[in-house]
Amino acid sequence: MSQFTQQIILGLLLGGIYVAVALGFSLVWGILNIVNLAHGALVIVGAYITWLLFDRLHVDPFLSLPVDALALFVLGYALQRGVINRVIRAPLLFTFLLTFGINLVIVSLVLLIFTADFRSVTPSYSGNGLHLGSVTIPYIRLGGLAVALLLAGILWAILNRTRIGAAILAVGADRDAAQLVGIDLRHIYALTFAIGAAFAGVAGGIISTSQSITPTAGDPYTLQSFAVVILGGLGRVSATVVGGLAFGLIEVLGQSAPGLGSGYAGAIAFVVLVIVLVVRPRGLLGRLA
C-alpha cells in the first residue's frame, strides 16, 4: 500500500514538471493559435542558464529561476516581434515550419555553445527529503511541484486580474474586435509569446535539477506539452494543471502496473489520450470551442 502511495506521489511530482512545461505552450496555442514546436528548445535554454549559474557561480537552482524567466521573456518577445509575427495570419503549416526551423536553430546554437556533453544540476540538498514511513518525498521535486503551481497561480492572476491579461484574453477571443477597441496587437502577441517563453525557461530550470540535460533533450517536452494540453483542454489555466498532473500520474502508474513492463508506459499514456479525445474531445476541463 505504501508502495502505491509512493507511486501516486511520484506521479504528482512528475506531473508538476509537465504542468510547468505545458503552461506556456498552452497559453501560446490558445491565444496566438500557434503550436510552438520550438517550446522544448526554450525549455532547454532555461535549463542551461540554471546549469551555467550553478556551475560557474554556485547559484542555487531555485534562485536562478527568475533569471531564466527574465532571459527567456526577452528572447521570446524578440522572437515573436521579429520573426513569428510575420506569419501570424498565415496558414497553420507556415507557423509549423517556422517554429520547427527556430527549434533547429536554437538547438544548434546551444550545441555550439555548450557542446553535446551531458550536464546536470546537483545541489547539496538533492538527497534530502520528507520521510513518512516508507514513503519518500524528495524536497527538490516537491520544490518543482510548488513552483509549477505558483506559475499556474501567477498566470491565472495575470489573465484574470490585470488589464494586460484582459487584453491578452480579448485578442484570444477575437483579434479584429480587440484591435478595434485600441489594443496594440503586435505588442500583445509578443507579450503573450514572451510570457510563454518565460514559463518554459522556469520549467527548464526545474528539469535541470532532476534530469540530465543535453541540447537535444527538449523535443520530448514539446510532445508532452501537446499531450497535456489535449488531455486537460485548451483555454484555461486549471485545465493545464489538471492535464499535467493527470499525465504524470498515468505515466508513473503505467510504469508500475503489475504484469506490464514499463516499456508500455508511453503507450498507456497515449491510449488514455485517445480515449479522452473520443469521449470528451474538448479535454477534461476544456471549454467548448
Binding site: 508502495q3 509512493q6 507511486q7 511520484l10 506521479g11 511530482l13 512528475l14 514538471i17 556533453d117 551531458f118 550536464r119 546536470s120 546537483t122 538533492s126 538527497g127 527529503g129 520521510h131 516508507s134 519518500t136 524528495p138 527538490i140 521535486r141 532532476s210 534530469q211 540530465s212 543535453t214 533533450a217 520530448p220 505515466e251 508513473v252 510504469q255 508500475s256 513492463g261 514499463s262 516499456g263 508506459a265 508511453g266
Partner: protein, 411 residues
Amino acid sequence: MRGEKLGPCMVGLALLLAACGTSSTGNSPTSGSTLVFGAAVSLTGAQSKEGGLTKQGYDLWLDWINQRGGIVVNNVKHPVQIKYEDDQSDPNVSATLVQKLITSEKAQFILGPYGSAATATDAIIVERDGIPMVEANGAAQSIFNHGYKFTFGVLSPANKYLTGVLDMAATLSPKPTTIVMLSANDNFSLEVAKAVADYAPSKGMQVLVTKQYPAAALDVSSLVSQAKALNPDIVMNSGHLAEAININKAAKQLGLNAKIFAYSVGPSTPDFISALGPDANFVFDGSQWTPQVKYKPTFYLSVSDYVKAYEAKYNSSQPPDYHVAESTAACLAFQKAIENAGSLDPTKVRDALASLDVMTFFGQIKFDSRGINTFKPMVVEQIQSGTHYTVFPTDIANGRPQYPTPPWSSR
C-alpha cells in the same frame, strides 16, 4: 659467334644474382609484396566520432609494423597498406564498400567497421568471398550466431558487459546476494540484462526483478522507487549515458541505498563524472579495456608504451579509450595469425585465426568456435574521488573496490 659472346654475360648475370641472393638471405628476411588490408569505417555521419577512434587504432599499428618492415611470412617481410573507405555510418553502405575493397581494391584481409550493425552486414560479404575479417567494434552476439567462418571479433561480447561486476561482487565481504536490474528495451541492453540474470545464480546471487524502460526515458523515479522497495544489495542499469545519470540522481533523491551501483554504459565517460560531481563516486561499470590494466603482452607494445605511442602520435593529453585499443588489437590478431600461418592464403590465415591464442596489451586474444573472444575478461572500473580506477580482475587492477557504497546521507 653470338652464343660465345652471350655465354660470359649469362655467367656474369648469374653470379650477380647469386651475390644479391646471398646478401639478403641469411638472418635478415627479404622484402616481399605489400599486403593490402581494407577497412570501411564511419568517418562521417552519426558514428564519425567512434569511427575516427577505430581508424586511430588501426593506424597506430600500421606505423609500428611498417617501421619494422612489415609482417614476416616465411622469412619475407611484407609491408602493410590499409585502404580506407567511409561508410557514412550506414551499415548497407559499409557492405557495398567492403565488396568494392575486395574486388576492385584487391584487399587481401578486412578490418572491421564501427558498430554491431555494420559488422553484421560486412560479415555476410567476407563469408561469401572467403576473405578473413577481424573486427573490434561489434559486440552483439547475434553477429556470431550464424555459423560464419571468416569473421572474428577480438572484443568481449555483450553478455559479458556486467558479469564481470558479479565476479567481483562474489569476492567482496559481506557478499551481496540480491540484484535489481533496470534495463533499456533495446536489443543490446536486453542482451546484457539477460546475461546477468542467467549468470547470477552461479555466483550465489539472484536477480529479484528486471524492470524495462523505453530507451531515452526521461523519468526513472518510479522505477527507482520500485527498486528501493525491494531493498537490493546491487542496483544495475543496462542502458545508456542519459539514463545512467538520471537513475543515479533519482537514487539519491529517493534514498535508494545499495551496496553496489553498476551501470553498463555511462560511468566510463568523462561526462558522467562532470555531470554528477561527487555523486558519481563509488559507481562501477564494465569496460572492454582501460589504460590502467596490467596485462603482460608477448609482442607489440606494453600497456604504458601503447598509451605513450598514442599520446605522441595524436598529440593528445588524454589516454586512448577502449575503442582505439580494441581496434589496434584486431590488427595484432591479424599479424600474429599471418605469421603463424606462414602463408598469405586467406583460408590458411583463417585457420590460424581460429587457433590463435596470444596475450596482448589488450588482453588475451582467443576465439571460441563462433569466432568471438570469450576469453578476455571485461574490466571493472570504479569511480573513486572523481577518478576512474580499474578494480577487477585483481591481477590487472590499479585500485581496490571501495565497498560497500556508503548511504547517500553520509557521503
